[in-house]
Symmetry: C2
């Protein structure tokens, strides 16, 4: 028997806040066109690839008579990729605008991600169903999936499915890749005169889908608040028990926005930033020594405890580690693995490895704890490649630091204790009840997405901006997806893609962190954010991230 928690029941009553300009009722929303757009780079190539959808105008909505064409809309919605808090609100905002415009309009949910469109697996939303999901976390309303819509063949099937249902528009809720594909699908639909529009919505807890137009992706606020709650609790525990260094890994493989935001919220002793490691070409040993310096400095002040935040993808940013992985993959490629596998003891295998690696890579390999050395050689993927994502980097750095401290102790440079605990936070935050910010932002994105559809736009991203201000002052509109594209090399081919946003080392969030981290490394400056609040004073329950506040205060 399903049971609803008290919070879930209470959240059903929450009415998400729309931008002021969308609050006057459907009949009072009109379009203001802005300037024509160009892609952020590679304009000629992108223009050539998107003849039907390139160079469109950016638009904003404002109060005024609704001049859109009255026709029955049948909209399909798809959730793509990893869960992010607020997805259900995008759908409910979309549904509410669609039904407010015309109660005969239909919202179809394609199930299990983009594959639902290809396989024609769907549900049709009604009030009763959608009301169960308002202001809740998760993507279980229709499920999600990681199938990519990118081939002509898929597009042709999608066209047939749309025709069958009379679909007039598709809304794709996803990250940078999914929105890139939304742009390509929009172009296909336009080129083939299908009459189907495509609108994207920016989703990802990783925070790496943002640019001069998109201030942040949804879910980042709630996920980082959840991780920060836990990190703050652990900091308080560390400061009470005074006996452990906690190494905390947080989700985020290709960018360190999550780690950085958590650091700004909790002021830990250490936070590694992948983009900095890559820019400075830092070695594992340099990183570990930097952490060890903090351990020693704190120990000298009587504090044998601390907290270090490690982004999930950190080792992939370390140049020498990338080289090591490439050499291992080469060393065991194809039938070369047979000779290795035939060896019985780890000692023999180690000798084989020592012979096969370059001196530089062997030095890196030798640094690693044995468990990780073995993991690199024993747990490879079906193609025989090292599975970097399996490496428990929180344990790796704890061990590397421990080894350095043993050396320093032997030299009389360290007299303290170093006990460690490890944590990994990822799944804990992807499906939390959306914060008020994400609930409002997502509902607005969905509502706004329908207005873009109603006004006939195709290949646009639903855009809500001015997000560091109260919702009343938010600005709703749309941005051509092609504007955000550039050409990148992917799997040996030039592809038009939305550029992934990495942590900018000259950006305000990193600069703030950089200006404070030396103090945080030595003193105890922990901040305890506590659990996400949905009720209470506005400064407790309505503020968004430090990252956004700092970026907007530029």
């Amino acid at each position: 028997m399903k049971e609803l928690s008290p919070l879930q029941k209470a959240r059903y009553q929450y009415q998400p806040k729309l931008p002021g300009m969308l609050r006057n009722g459907i009949s009072e929303i009109c379009v203001k066109e802005g300037a024509a757009t160009q892609s952020v780079a590679d304009q000629e190539k992108i223009a050539a690839l998107f003849p039907n959808t390139y160079g469109k105008k950016e638009i904003t909505f404002e109060k005024g008579t609704n001049t859109s064409v009255a026709k029955k809309q049948v909209v399909g919605v798809i959730l793509s990729g990893g869960q992010a808090p607020g997805g259900h609100n995008v759908v409910s905002g979309l549904y509410d605008a669609l039904k407010a415009t015309n109660k005969d309009n239909v919202l179809i949910g394609f199930k299990g991600g983009p594959s639902g469109l290809i396989e024609d697996k769907y549900i049709i939303f009604d009030d009763e169903y959608i009301d169960q999901f308002r202001n809740t976390g998760g993507f279980d309303i229709i499920g999600s999936g990681r199938t990519k819509l990118e081939t002509e063949e898929q597009f042709a099937i999608a066209t047939e499915v749309c025709k069958k249902h009379g679909v007039t528009a598709i809304v794709i809720i996803g990250g940078d890749d999914s929105n890139t594909n939304a742009g390509i699908l929009a172009e296909y639909f336009a080129a083939h005169n299908t009459g189907v529009q495509v609108i994207g919505c920016p989703k990802t807890i990783d925070g790496d889908l943002k640019n001069e137009d998109i201030e942040c992706s949804f879910g980042f606020d709630t996920a980082t608040k959840t991780y920060s709650e836990l990190i703050g609790n652990i900091e308080r525990d560390a400061n009470s028990a005074k006996k452990y260094w906690h190494f905390i890994k947080v989700m985020g493989r290709s960018a360190s926005h999550v780690a950085l935001e958590c650091a700004l919220e909790t002021q830990p002793n250490i936070c590694l930033i992948g983009e900095e490691v890559a820019a400075k070409k830092m070695s594992l040993s340099q990183i570990a020594n930097q952490i060890a310096d903090s351990v020693v400095a704190r120990s000298n002040k009587g504090m044998n405890f601390g907290v270090a935040i490690i982004p999930e993808g950190i080792v992939e940013f370390v140049p020498e580690f990338g080289k090591l992985i490439a050499e291992i993959n080469e060393l065991l490629a194809g039938s070369k693995a047979d000779a290795f596998n035939a060896l019985d003891s780890w000692a023999d295998k180690y000798a084989f490895i020592e012979k096969g690696l370059t001196k530089e890579s062997m030095a890196v390999f030798a640094l690693l704890p044995e468990s990780i050395q073995q993991q690199l050689f024993l747990e490879r993927d079906p193609h025989g490649n090292v599975q970097v994502s399996l490496i428990e980097s929180e344990k790796l750095f704890a061990e590397l630091v421990g080894n350095i401290l043993k050396d320093r102790k032997a030299k009389g440079e360290f007299n303290g204790k170093f006990g460690t605990q490890h944590h990994f936070f990822g799944y804990e935050g992807r499906c939390a009840f959306p914060s008020n910010f994400d609930a409002d932002y997502c509902y607005s994105l969905g509502y706004n997405a329908f207005m873009l559809i109603q006004y006939g736009f195709n290949g646009y991203l639903s855009k809500v901006s001015n997000l560091s201000k109260p919702a009343e002052q938010w600005v709703a509109g749309g941005m051509p997806i092609t504007k955000m594209m550039n050409i990148e090399r992917r799997h040996g081919e030039d592809k038009p893609v939305i550029r992934k946003a990495l942590v900018e080392l000259d950006g305000a969030p990193f600069k703030y962190f950089e200006a404070h981290r030396d103090e945080w490394a030595v003193e105890t400056c922990f901040t305890f954010p506590g659990a996400i609040q949905y009720y209470g004073p506005a400064e407790v329950c309505d503020l968004t991230t430090r990252t956004l506040a700092l970026e907007k205060s530029k």
Copy 2:
């Protein structure tokens, strides 16, 4: 630079709720004496051990003229053992009652746990200092520690330290062991006419300090709400992504109250209860098969995902596992380890083990994943014993279930997928901002503890009951610690101790779980509690645990 989070600032404004009878001001609190008490068992032995503090009356406070003797009180407070949310509120409640009674009264905090009393490390509280800690998590107000106060020598030093400061009473905030020792210290102080009183307060997130007098220990509410938030989020993620079974270990070694409460809050597919495993003498294989049955049944319904809660101490409840550990300890005792350590390869070591263990224990050992087999032999404590607490039981059961499913697949009994993720939640919950319940309960315990001191009671536990009702209806009073004692065999000696409360298999919480778990194992009945709320509707922010509600509804 320290920074306060918005929630921390807001929580400073929270005024904890006292039981109605303590709300009329200090001058309007009088004592109502109840019946004389007896220990729960072994009455003669306990009476003989506690001639000065045995058989006292239970007492409650009520509205009426305060008849306590006016004298200057100097109270020392000690935090003992692991952190639990609300400790700071016990101290602030104690401080407020003490200062309201006489502004010249003094509250001394002994630092770093019971050792602070012996080593005379202390601070003296004032308004400014204590105000920084109101309604916050952690024990950092004075720190905590695990030193046990139990020897005559320690007591003699404690007496000297008390004399030096003019201490009239000590409040010990701790679990069953610490409160046992509080009772012994009270007897010592009385026997030696020191004039120092001792009052205990029931703390532990594990929930295993409760009985017919103490409805629950503080911290259990907040910690289980924090873990349940995370488990609910993971359930929602599992139900959205539909691709993983999550094995979630929660803190609690000697009792499974935490796991049970989390299960009642979140309705997972599986929750193991150590006490049941022990009572039914279940084997590892039986437990793993039970989980595998759920995996298969759900897979047959198209659901290749689920959530299993594993109590931290589960393997210690499995009889055959206990036997295996004892045999390993015997096998490698003293110099016998040398022969084992001299062996080079794991294959040789395995052969040695096979020869040394009984057939039954070898069968259990053979079931274990190799990583855990090696851990049992390689990572032993300074006495050469297996470190059971290091065993990652969430990974152990995930692997055992995986192996069973492979067999079943080979036999055509399982056609699904079984991907796993692992989590451990412990440190995340011990220092959360106390829930309103814990903030109120703890403040009341502290306030009440001072009233017990003021009225001259010694060897009492601060008792606040009727906790499943609104705070207005709570009942404040005291219970002689000796009433909760019995004699148990510890380290080869008969000792008077407070009996640890295990999960009762005929108790209402377990019965509720038992009545529903078959459905939960097969269907998806997940409940999503969300983050602890400190504001909002009362049913969202003021309810305590399911465990307590069920126990009180008996």
